[in-house]
Structure formats: structure tokens, C-alpha cells
């Protein structure tokens, strides 16, 4: 056929057109689309045939309409509580902005929302004091993304959790040098709001109000393929964070102890044994390692 366009040219043009947030005609007339096929909105029939019932632009719009609608639907499935908090219309506006900035580059929809919390962080209005409603949304989206990653990522189910004997087998003089090996699903999340409770309320089809700020230290993990979350105190959270950062037990305790309010170091020492016991029974760790072991 004389004048036939190359497949590359056609695909790049069509992608520019159907992903334009302002619609098909705006897409066709965009400079990026016209670099591929130089037509205006009145000449779409030169590329796309019409049917007896629909014109070329209307037919192309089926794909254009579907592009954002599909992605927003999937993003909403991954962030149901964030969607509820924002309301449908505002969530769509946020999602559109997100997909314009970070279109999907993966074969899997599982990675679609990976950068959404960061998108919200980057767009946080600077003039609103912390912690404010933007921080609530950021915390909530961060929690929902963490849930998604823990749910479908590697988990502890086929691994043996840390046994008390493993710790007991370490010579006492070396105990401060051990490093804990965490279960692959173990995550920590520091939030300024009780977003886990808000998430649960939305899941239970309630209509929660945005809560007042409240420091919330969460441990997120997985057992039997279901995501679990729990609240821990600041000292326990700091100890876990130091351990997950790769510090030895002794160094981690030192770091966490520095975060203790004055005069509470005795409490901290007393709690250590209880925490280790709980971590072991909850399966948060798989093993302990000595340097060079």
C-alpha cells in the first residue's frame, strides 16, 4: 500500500494519542503525536477507519477512556483506604497525576502502585504544618503499599523460624556480636497517625473520620500467607530498626538505649528478654549469625 506507515510509527502515535489525559483530539494534535503522524483532529480517519455507528475519534476514545480508567481502578484496588480518605474524585485526580508522572513500565500490575507513596511525599504542600492531613495520606498510602508487598512478596511460610536453642548455643562472650536474620516479610513503619486502624475500619465497610495525630509504630509481617500488623513501643521499635539496619545485637541495643527517656534504662533491660521471646514466637526472625560464621 502506497504511503503505508511503519508499525513503529503507528504504535508510537497511538500510544501518544490514547494516553493523553485531555482526550483523543488533544492527543492527536499534541506535538509528540504529530512528530509520529502529522495530522490534526479532523484527519483521524486517515489512520483509523470509522464504523457504521462510530467515527474514528470515538472509536479511538474507547482505548483512551480505558487507559486511565483501568489504571485508576487497579490503583484503587491496591489503595482502598487512601481512595476512601480522598474521596473518589480527588483520588482520581491524584491517580491521574501519578500515572502522568510514572506510567507503568512493568508487565505486572503488581508494581503499579510502587511509587505512589513517594509521589504523595513529593507533592506534599510545604505550607501545611506537620503532622497534617497530607501526612495522614502519605502514612496511609505507605501502609497500603507495604501490605501489598508483604502479601505477595517472599514470606516465612516455608522457612524455619528462629529457635530459642539457636540463641542459647551462642557463647555468652559472643552474644553481643550476633546478627539477627529477619524473615523476608518483616517491615517496620513509623506513622504519625493510627493508619492501621483507619485501614481496618475501611475494610470493615465503616466510614471512619480522619483521626487526630498519634505516633504509631507498626511491625508488619506475614504468617500463613496473611499480612499481620502489630503495635510496638518506641524502644522496641528502635531496637528492631537497628537490627534490620544490619547492626549486631550489642550495637543495636546501644543505639536503641540512646533513644530511651532518661531513667528508664532499667525498664529497657527488663523488656529485652520479653521482646526476644515474642519475636521468636511470632516468627519475625529466622536465625542468628556470628561474624565469619
Amino acid at each position: 500500500m502506497a504511503g503505508q506507515r511503519s508499525l513503529t510509527q503507528l504504535q508510537r502515535w497511538m500510544q501518544e494519542v490514547i494516553t493523553n489525559p485531555d482526550g483523543i483530539v488533544a492527543g492527536v494534535e499534541s506535538s509528540t503525536a504529530r512528530q509520529k503522524i502529522d495530522i490534526d483532529g479532523t484527519r483521524i480517519e486517515e489512520v483509523i477507519g470509522r464504523s457504521t455507528r462510530l467515527g474514528s475519534a470515538e472509536r479511538l476514545a474507547v482505548y483512551g477512556n480505558a487507559y486511565f480508567a483501568r489504571l485508576i481502578e487497579c490503583l484503587g484496588d491496591e489503595f482502598p483506604a487512601t481512595r476512601f480518605a480522598l474521596g473518589e474524585e480527588t483520588f482520581q485526580t491524584f491517580a491521574l497525576g501519578y500515572f502522568e508522572q510514572s506510567p507503568s513500565t512493568s508487565y505486572s500490575l503488581g508494581f503499579l502502585g510502587a511509587r505512589f507513596p513517594q509521589y504523595l511525599i513529593d507533592g506534599r504542600p510545604a505550607d501545611i504544618p506537620k503532622p497534617g492531613w497530607p501526612d495522614f495520606l502519605i502514612d496511609l498510602a505507605t501502609l497500603e503499599r507495604a501490605y501489598a508487598e508483604v502479601f505477595d512478596g517472599l514470606g516465612p511460610e516455608k522457612l524455619t523460624p528462629l529457635q530459642p536453642e539457636a540463641l542459647q548455643a551462642i557463647p555468652i562472650e559472643l552474644i553481643s556480636e550476633v546478627r539477627f536474620v529477619p524473615a523476608p516479610s518483616l517491615r517496620l513503619l513509623e506513622a504519625s497517625f493510627a493508619v492501621h486502624e483507619y485501614f481496618t475500619a475501611v475494610r470493615q465497610s465503616q466510614s471512619p473520620e480522619i483521626p487526630a495525630p498519634q505516633e504509631t509504630l507498626l511491625v508488619i509481617t506475614r504468617r500463613d500467607y496473611v499480612v499481620r500488623r502489630g503495635i510496638v513501643s518506641r524502644p522496641e521499635f528502635e531496637l528492631l530498626r537497628a537490627i534490620l539496619d544490619g547492626n549486631s545485637l550489642g550495637a543495636a541495643i546501644e543505639i536503641a538505649a540512646e533513644e530511651q527517656p532518661e531513667g528508664t534504662n532499667d525498664d529497657f533491660a527488663a523488656n529485652l528478654s520479653r521482646w526476644f521471646h515474642h519475636w521468636a514466637s511470632a516468627g519475625w526472625f529466622l536465625n542468628v549469625e556470628l561474624p565469619n560464621s
Binding site: 500500500m1 503505508q4 508499525l7 513503529t8 503507528l10 504504535q11 508510537r12 497511538m14 500510544q15 490514547i18 494516553t19 489525559p21 485531555d22 482526550g23 483523543i24 483530539v25 486517515e46 489512520v47 477507519g49 464504523s51 457504521t52 455507528r53 462510530l54 470515538e58 472509536r59 479511538l60 474507547v62 482505548y63 483512551g64 477512556n65 480505558a66 487507559y67 480508567a69 483501568r70 487497579c74 484496588d77 491496591e78 482502598p80 491521574l96 506510567p103 507503568s104 513500565t105 508487565y107 505486572s108 500490575l109 503488581g110 497500603e144 501490605y147 501489598a148 502479601f151 505477595d152 512478596g153 517472599l154 514470606g155 511460610e157 500467607y225 496473611v226 499480612v227 499481620r228 500488623r229
Partner: protein, 320 residues
């Protein structure tokens, strides 16, 4: 090709595996002939979806159906993706691996849609070359499905059925005939679905798909959210007669009902071909027409339809 259906078996009447049915399937072990999975939902999973699939694959034949191979794209093939696809196929002992005659994006993007190709000699050569590469890599034949489409290109020089026929014969791949997609595309493009189905190389058809759609008056959208319509059942009966019968699968991806409803829908196919009888009035779903608020518009966001063409299958986390 030495054997009909590339020597692949007739697995009977299967159902597309969806997360909302996991618990029912594991608890009741329904008498389903086979399951089809969305490949991309399991390729990277280390969680419950993968765990459930492991149990299901031990008890039922599994077929892998992908939505992101993008065999028609002018971007390079993604060999990391293909490696994961191959690994999953081995792990599930997949009876075969299928995807669509489409492209999903260029310049590294994925729109997660099954976009149409212009049917001409250049595209045909491009697609055939890529199918050969994929088949060599996977060390198994590829089975490709006709997608539902909503536009045609002025650059097309042959019909879709001629394109698909030549593609299958030149690349020696199999075909997944989506009967609903034939109906949807033919309505949208003013074509005859009977001619479409009669013109295909029937011995290369490995599998049928059935699904519901949404009729918008001016066009039909492939939404997988309803029962199969009468006209599609009629086409299915024709396709069955022409092929001698192949593995048949029911897809339901939105507003998904209880498992028994989905399973019951595909069993209608079995009754239809085994009884060879006329359908009783009211047995099958008539055309569902949703004219309000779903017509296409070229004006941007405000007029987006309430319906989204497939695929849009996302696995939501379960949290306690």
C-alpha cells in the same frame, strides 16, 4: 504441523482462576476439568496466590494465559519476562502457554491493554518472527488469542482472519479462539462473525474462550462481567462443530459471582454440545444493553465509561 491442536489435549471445560474463588476451590475441590491462570499474577508472587496455585496445580490441569507478552510491539522482546514465564510454566506443568495477538505498549511503557495491530504484510512478518523467537525460547508452541478490538487501521490490507491464519501457519503456533471477542470485534467493525470463524484454520485451534460483554449500543466492550450471550453461544456451537471440540474456558473478571455460578456457565457449553439440542427458553442470557453513561467520547476524562475492557486483573492483599 503434524497433529491437530499441535498435539495438545482437549482438557474439557475449565474456569479462569480468580482470587475471590481461592477459598471455595481449596475447601470444596469442585469438579472442574481445568483452570487457566493469568500468568503475570503469579510470575513474581511469593505469597498466597502462588501458594494457592501450587495446591491447585497438584489437583487440576493448569493452562497459563498472559496479558503482557506484547508479541506485536515494536519494542524488543523482554527476555527477563520470558524467563519468568518459562520458569512458571515448568513449575505448574502448564498444558500450554497462551497470550494475545496484540501489543501492550512501546518505548518501555505498558498500558495494560490489548491494543490492535494493523493487518498487513509488514506486521505479519514482524509478528511471525517474534513468535518464532518466543517459541524457541520457551521450547514449546505459543497459543495466541484474537483480542476484542475497537478500531481498524487504514493501513490494514487483509482481514483479521486472514492475518491470524497466515500468522499461525507461518509460525506454526496454536490459536486460542475467543468466541466472545469474535462477536465483539465483528460488531464493532461491521463484519460477519460467522465468516470470521469459518475462515480460520480449525485444526490449529487449541482452546476456546467464552465470556460476557457490555453492549453500549454503538459498540460492544469486552468486560467479562456477565453471562455469555445467546449470539456468542450460537457462534460457540459453530466453532465446536468446525473444530470437532477443543478445551473450553469461561472468563469472568468483573462483578465476579460465586464460583458455582461461573462454573455453571461453562457447563452450559458442555450441555450445549453434548445434548446437541436446542436451548430451552431462558437458559441463556440475552444481550445486556447498557446505553446509559457508557458511550464512547473523544472529549477527555469526564465521559469515561463505567466499563473497562479487559484485562484489569489485580490481586488485592489480604490483611488480618
Amino acid at each position: 504441523m503434524s497433529e491437530a491442536r499441535l498435539g495438545l489435549p482437549d482438557l474439557g471445560f475449565g474456569v479462569g482462576l480468580r482470587t475471590v474463588h481461592y477459598q471455595h476451590i481449596l475447601r470444596h475441590q469442585p469438579d472442574v476439568d481445568w483452570f487457566e491462570i493469568i500468568s503475570e499474577n503469579y510470575m513474581d508472587s511469593g505469597g498466597r496466590p502462588r501458594h494457592v496455585l501450587e495446591q491447585i496445580a497438584e489437583q487440576y490441569p493448569v493452562v497459563m494465559h498472559g496479558v503482557s507478552l506484547s508479541i506485536g510491539s515494536t519494542d524488543p522482546l523482554n527476555f527477563e519476562y520470558l524467563e519468568k514465564l518459562k520458569t512458571l510454566a515448568a513449575w505448574t506443568s502448564a498444558a500450554w502457554v497462551s497470550d494475545h495477538v496484540c501489543w501492550t505498549g512501546v518505548n518501555g511503557l505498558n498500558g495494560h491493554d490489548l491494543l490492535p495491530l494493523p493487518c498487513n504484510e509488514d506486521t505479519l512478518k514482524h509478528v511471525v518472527d517474534r513468535i518464532r523467537i518466543v517459541q524457541d525460547f520457551l521450547e514449546r508452541p505459543l497459543v495466541l488469542e484474537n483480542p476484542s478490538t475497537y478500531v481498524t487501521f487504514t493501513d490494514s490490507t487483509m482481514s483479521e482472519w486472514e492475518f491470524v491464519t497466515r500468522m499461525a501457519e507461518e509460525s506454526d503456533c496454536g490459536l486460542l479462539l475467543d468466541v466472545n471477542n469474535v462477536y465483539v470485534s465483528c460488531f464493532n467493525h461491521d463484519l460477519d462473525p460467522i465468516e470470521f470463524i469459518r475462515s480460520l484454520p480449525h485444526e490449529r485451534i487449541v482452546q476456546f474462550h467464552l465470556a460476557g460483554h457490555t453492549h453500549c449500543g454503538t459498540h460492544i466492550i469486552d468486560t467479562h462481567d456477565n453471562f455469555v450471550t445467546d449470539r456468542v453461544w450460537e457462534l460457540y456451537r459453530l466453532a465446536h462443530r468446525l473444530t470437532g471440540g477443543v478445551s473450553t474456558l469461561l472468563e469472568w473478571d468483573a462483578q465476579i459471582p460465586d464460583f458455582d455460578v461461573v462454573h455453571g456457565e461453562v457447563l452450559k457449553a458442555r450441555d450445549l454440545i453434548h445434548d446437541n439440542s436446542e436451548l430451552a427458553p431462558g437458559t441463556l442470557s440475552s444481550e445486556s444493553t447498557q446505553l446509559s453513561g457508557t458511550s464512547a467520547s473523544s472529549s477527555g476524562q469526564a465521559a469515561r465509561p463505567a466499563t473497562v475492557p479487559q484485562p484489569a486483573v489485580f490481586v488485592a492483599a489480604e490483611v488480618e
